[in-house]
Subunit: 223 residues, 2 copies
DNA sequence: TAGATTGTTAATCGATTAACAATC
DNA sequence: TAGATTGTTAATCGATTAACAATC
């Protein structure tokens, strides 16, 4: 239930991965999957970086934080490298995920294929609207929000995607944290204030578009 | 049509805004709007930062890059500050936006209220599926992708939201760039390679969830 | 005036870049 | 061996923090 607990010996002191590297590691993984799908088995730092707009030095440095994964003069073996990155990101374990709020955005996220491709398992959705409850969206059952705490426990949910209206986000997030959820991916355009150990990541769609318009105005092509 | 052209004298040399500050400015704007809605007219750097998990020093530094906007001993006047941030982000002008790909994600984005609240105008959607074309989603007409170039020009579209399947993303993005679009917000989990002046911003939903799971594994609450 | 808060400086921290010895 | 590419170091760059004089 708690993804931290494991029967393996706890990693002594997991070598720290710079915050800036984490987002890139996820990109590397995506690109490696693509190469693997094309039947390619090895890749160099400059090849991998070139496809992603990242310098080869950054790629090597990022990968070196995970251990000595390459062979000098040769490059990186894709299969092994992928596994190592997955392990570092926690993507080698199963994450049971719930989604809260089945409005248009929530519905789209329930149908989104990308999550399951990364090993995330959407186990349940929650809503307060009676006409939603009992339905199934993208193969995921919609449950009443009143059952949130019980179902989170029963279904061993550790991550949640919050897609409720802005007004309901803080209150709902608090319920999630109290129910023992360890991570919240927040799509509501509000800042969540949660005490304790619950991690929050935010996706603000309007802000993304605003940052793009800034880049356009400033003439920052390629950003 | 080109958002850069204006009858005002071109700003001599727009003081550079650090890349890291841009995302925060967008957050400040969101929070200021909330305060304004509550009838509050002034705010200090520590109040504004406190709500967003940003230190008061960072807030002051970010705002100072836009000019001297506060009054010592008093704080910032919200209305004026909001306007200044909007101008800096390019959010004070009208942006005509098109969305490509009306799958479940594209449909949800067409219905998303947040874009128009920030002044973005969704003018058209495009798809290849005959059953989609001619429909209206969230008040936005769905046009045939074959008409893309012509309609981009006619409707003076400058920004686009790309929500097509991964396989079609690169090709579609090239058409957009050739049609003169200046910015692409890409939701497809692929790296777009575009020559020239077109800005690209990426939102990879699966990667966001993966970064969250990393934060959970590392015990980085509050990230 | 006294208290508060900005704008800005100098010091610290972290990330990127460039270069190259190690080594396949 | 010769060519290629990693892993790592030192140098550069950029962002954050802490502190405080300026000033409302």
């Amino acid at each position: 239930m708690d993804p931290m607990s494991s029967d393996e010996p706890s990693q002594p002191s997991p070598n720290p991965i710079p915050a800036a590297a984490v987002a890139r590691l996820s990109l590397y993984l995506r690109e490696l999957r693509r190469l693997q799908g094309a039947g390619i088995e090895g890749v160099s730092s400059s090849q991998l970086g070139g496809r992603l707009g990242v310098s080869s030095a950054v790629v090597r440095r990022d990968l070196a934080t995970l251990g000595q994964l390459g062979r000098r003069g040769v490059g990186y073996e894709i299969a092994g490298l992928s596994n190592r990155i997955r392990a570092a990101l926690g993507a080698d374990q199963v994450w049971n995920v719930a989604l809260i709020g089945t409005g248009s955005l929530g519905t789209a996220l329930l149908r989104y294929r990308g999550f399951s491709e990364q090993g995330f398992r959407l186990k349940a959705a929650f809503d307060i609207r009676p006409d939603r409850i009992g339905q199934s969206v993208g193969g995921v059952p919609v449950l009443p929000l009143s059952e949130l705490e019980r179902e989170i426990k029963n279904r061993e949910i550790t991550l949640t995607i919050l897609a409720v209206p802005a007004e309901a986000a803080q209150e709902t997030a608090e319920r999630l944290a109290n129910a023992g959820v360890t991570g919240v991916l927040n799509f509501a355009p509000v800042t969540l204030n949660l005490r304790g150990e619950t991690c929050v990541a935010n996706v603000d769609l309007a802000s993304e578009l605003q940052q793009l318009s800034f880049a356009v105005v400033r003439g920052l092509a390629g950003s």
